[in-house]
Amino acid sequence: MKDVLTLALPKGRLLDPALTLLRDLGVEGIEEDSRRLIFTDPKRDLRVLFLKPADVPAYVVYGAADLGIVGKDILLEQEPDVYEPLDLGFGFCRLVVAEPRELRERDDPAKWSWVRVATKYPRLTEAYFSSRGIQVEIVRLDGSIELAPLVGLAERIVDLVQSGETLRANGLVEVAEITRSTARVIVNRASMKTEHARVTGLIEAMRRARSHPPLTPAVRARVE
């Protein structure tokens, strides 16, 4: 049996709700504004890593972390070989195809046969277009995807939207929705078996905290 369980958290938009969830579980010792990337809560035998969101699955697949919190969008893109036992419900967003408003006015998506698309999600983009019989040329970018149509890098983009504000601010409109995403808990396959009691205990605690936040002292006592 391991001394501590390791949980990988994604920096960025999912971090605040994830930390709130951990605080609801009574996890202590995590300083949000610190530059440290690793924290240990001795009381719960839990170690927490702060990672780039797209790196969370790799840490869990290889067992460097037992559990992780990560967006469904990244799971769909990477298809890591992990368990995905809990939908945390927060961090809702949608993966959409978008293009400039002027293009949209004269464009008919039903007639697409070849498109060039800028995206952080090459696999999902490829799968989406090829399942519709459309050839797609993918320009893989790591950020500021909305910029691509404005400077002529690609006519269209595939990106995550929450409120749609960023699209609007850049003169883009949504053409189609590819999928929806929320934050998920993922678990290393061996950890699920070899640390069965502790891992399922933590997941159940998260499940309860998600539906009735925060925990009552009685439940908290049972979880710990």
Binding site: M1, K2, V60, V61, Y62, G63, D81, V82, Y83, E84, P85, L86, D87, V187, N188, R189, A190, S191, M192, K193, T194, E195, H196, T200
Partner: protein, 471 residues
Amino acid sequence: MRAGLADIEATGICRTEPRRAHGTPLTQWAGLAVLATMRPLHPQLPKGARVYLPDEAARKRHVEARLLDVFTRWGYREIVTSTFEYADVLAMGTDEGVQESMFKLVDRETGRMLALRADITPQIARIVATRLRDEPKPVRLAYVTNVFRYDEPRASHYREFYQAGVELIGLEKPEAEAEIIAMAIEGLHALGLTGFQIDLGHPDFFRGLCEEAGAEPARVRELRAALARKDTSALERIVTDLAPAAHVGESLLALPSLFGHEAVLERAAGVARNKRSARALANLAEVYRLLTIYGLADAALLDLGEVRGFDYYSGTYFEAYVSGFGASVAAGGRYDHMLARFGYDCAAVGFAFDVARVLSVMEAQGVPVALPGPDFFIIDFTRDKTAALSLARRLRAAGASVARDIISRGLEESVAYARAQRVRHVLVVGSPRTKPAELLALDLADGSERVLAVPEVLAEPGRFFGGGGHA
């Protein structure tokens, strides 16, 4: 050692280029000419190929030998199958998903498609169904082999990988499953691994529930995909869409939590109202009971929501997980329908270890593997080499491993080489410190030095080198 000993060995089979008094050795020009005509050398391997250098190969061989030893002690005999066969014949017993990942080539004589084995079990099933059909049962077969699959390389998984496993043919009783699970656990112990867990499941439990729910094949695939990830939210969505009878829906939703020790059997009994699921559960309970008798129930975890693995499993199957490594290191189970695909209806169970994954977890757990070099390393500074060659011959005959230093170089260099090779004893003939017919014996393990008479060593080597497990 001493500078005075830095003599050059007089002759050797693999001598360096004799120095010329003036100018450049001829061979250097010849070498340049070869370089000019050679294509640039690309050292990379195709994706998914891997080389085991000597130390890695020794570790790999250690794992394979330990496992084969366990299999042998349970009464299994090794079988060797062909690396390639006609693709359509191989495909007959191979799961569809694996068929797609077979390496294929064309047979120059017949024009038929050949394939490299992507799974050895269908090959053995066919051999048993044809060549060993009349053998008295049960038939116990073991193998250590390479397997080829056009998979995306991932954690310790290459396109050519190695398996060590067994097939136990002709037994319908749950004791057969219990036997191979006990062997898998014994194998894990023999490898020095700790912190492992055997995950036990039965595909018919899930199949029975799907039949009861009237799920179509496409729905079953969706359910399986959700269960394989233990994704409860997707499972809820699919079950809501499916809208089966209330108790069936509840049973399907309960699958991911039917996971744990003995108590799971009771909880599952409440869930399994259809005959197929109930039979599966009874079989699993019996295997679990037998493992309890073997004293191995602690290492086993029942998991009725686990639906990974091959479609060919018809009964109890298992996977072995080791703490910290996210894929199973061994897997197997019952596949009673496999032999029928080759026209011989016969019960069978089997399992295999993935050798590369075992090596990974051994490294992660810091399991030591002894990698000894030769027992003896013989340096001879005399011209005629009689002493060196007769000593080498005598020591090898006595069961020791012996390497000769054939390169001409100084003693210090030779000893440094011997150390790097993890040699135990260095024997030096013709050193200025010894008389003719004597040798200097250096023990590299404890640093001691002895002068010994060559004829005495030749007569009875065990008298001088008895300790430390050497000849």
